[in-house]
Amino acid sequence: MRSETLLSCDEVSRQLAEAVDGPLSLDPDARRHVETCLGCQAEAAGDRRLRRALRGLRHELSEPVPGLLDDVLAALGTGADRRSGRLALHRRRAAYVGGIAAATAAGVGGAVVLAGRTRRRLPLAG
């Protein structure tokens, strides 16, 4: 049985769907409509009951597939090893580049020193 109030049942139904707290959070016109419309009352009651039942599922746990936990931990181990491997590689590369840079700097430094000595020796040689 549908009400002949200003708001249509479809509009109330849409509002019911969006009302986070159920019929209590409907606007006053929609609430008045529900109070006088048996169809919408049934829908609101069904909606309340459905949401309550759905909330109740939150703590119902499914039986997991065998070996799930081991699989997850193993996958994490692989992922973590790969990450730490990449990190080690980056570090090795950094050390290698740093070594080359240090060696180059040492070489350049040595050359400068030698050149300086050579320059100092030249007048003596002359």
Binding site: S13, E18, P64, L68, V72, L73, A80
Partner: protein
Amino acid sequence: MAGSNPPTSDEIANLVTEARGGDRGAFDALVRHTYLETYTLAYRLTGDEEDARDVVQESYLRAYRGLRRFRGDAQFSTWLYRITANCASTELGRRARHRHDDLDDDLPEATWRGTSGPESAVDNVALRERLEEALGALPPRLRAVVVLRDVYDLPHDAIAAELGISVSAAKVRLHRARRRLRQDLFLAPVEADGVMDAEGARAV
């Protein structure tokens, strides 16, 4: 963890802090505490055990890699639900491409007739079983929204973000999903009776 007391929110928060500091053991402990719930959500979203297994693995890998981005202003479980929803959405998209699953959420509805109404006496256990069945019968796109909103209490914008849809599309799907569930749970199909009546008439 199965068979032990669930950890308090403080214990979870401490484990998250330790895991963010690089403690793999702490992250493993988080997995042990939460994997059943994560699996349950993944299974509810995908409706398939093996797909759920893949989703759980991918979810924890993403969580591990993204742990530094978890700011701690939300609950760890909520953060994990969002990651799981996102992974499941990806998995469902992949499955739809490969298996041509029916993703139509506008399936024709049977004509329904009220039984003794929503307040008819069904005990909670029976209702839960029928609800799980009804959820399993929903098209995946509708199921995802109603599970995330009404079971796991995620806000509309989070659901929309993780499923890659607009907020208004999420609300429309929620409305359709609830309507289908109400029909499945609280109303009986007229067609079944109609067939029986016709057969009965023929027999007479």
